[in-house]
Amino acid sequence: SQTIHQWPATLVQPVGSPLSLECTVEGTSNPNLYWYRQAAGRGLQLLFYSVGIGQISSEVPQNLSASRPQDRQFILSSKKLLLSDSGFYLCAWDVGDPPQETQYFGPGTRLLVL
């Protein structure tokens, strides 16, 4: 069966520090991968998606970047965090081209920038 992992689960970082959040998927090949951010009490905003190794599409301009160094690994990064980067970050996957319709979400990483 397929599983999706995210780490760390919680992170507290000072403003201006770098960031690296990791997402890995097991049990499937060539998944489409997604990074979402969820502000407190609000819906999900799609940040990045990737259909293959090294292929990244950005949905909104921001202080963050994403990379996909391996088929089932998706990394969210920042060189210098801002207060506004605080939030709940969710990774998700689906398969297919075009993508299947249902996405499967990881447990999330809660980021607090102080």
């Binding site: 009490g41 609000r42 819906g43 905003q45 979400f105 999330g108």
Partner: protein, 109 residues
């Protein structure tokens, strides 16, 4: 941008009652999905309804879709305390999911 808008933003009911949540969207869609999120956790897919369907059932869940009004509703019958969570609608268009702001449901025992 957020396409879906859920109504109400928050809903508090007693165990055993039915809970109805509504979702409106703006553009044409391939399908509409409902997801559930327990506090501090990831989202879990509940049900998908395609643009050519009007109603769908899954256990205690009933979803309707009115494409002429660009709206959908999620009904949870005979609610339980364990149904307490946030519920999001998401429209699927051109390979992407666009989520609404969610309805926070509280079911009191």
């Amino acid at each position: 941008s957020q396409q879906g808008e859920e109504d109400p933003q928050a809903l508090s009911i007693q165990e055993g009652e039915n809970a109805t949540m509504n979702c409106s969207y703006k553009t044409s869609i391939n399908n509409l999905q409902w997801y559930r999120q327990n506090s501090g956790r990831g989202l879990v897919h509940l049900i998908l309804i395609r643009s050519n369907e009007r109603e769908k059932h899954s256990g205690r869940l009933r979803v309707t879709l009115d494409t002429s009004k660009k709206s959908s509703s999620l009904l949870i019958t005979a609610s339980r305390a364990a149904d307490t969570a946030s519920y999001f609608c998401a429209t699927h268009r051109w390979g992407k999911l666009i989520f609404g702001q969610g309805t926070e449901l509280s079911v009191k025992p």
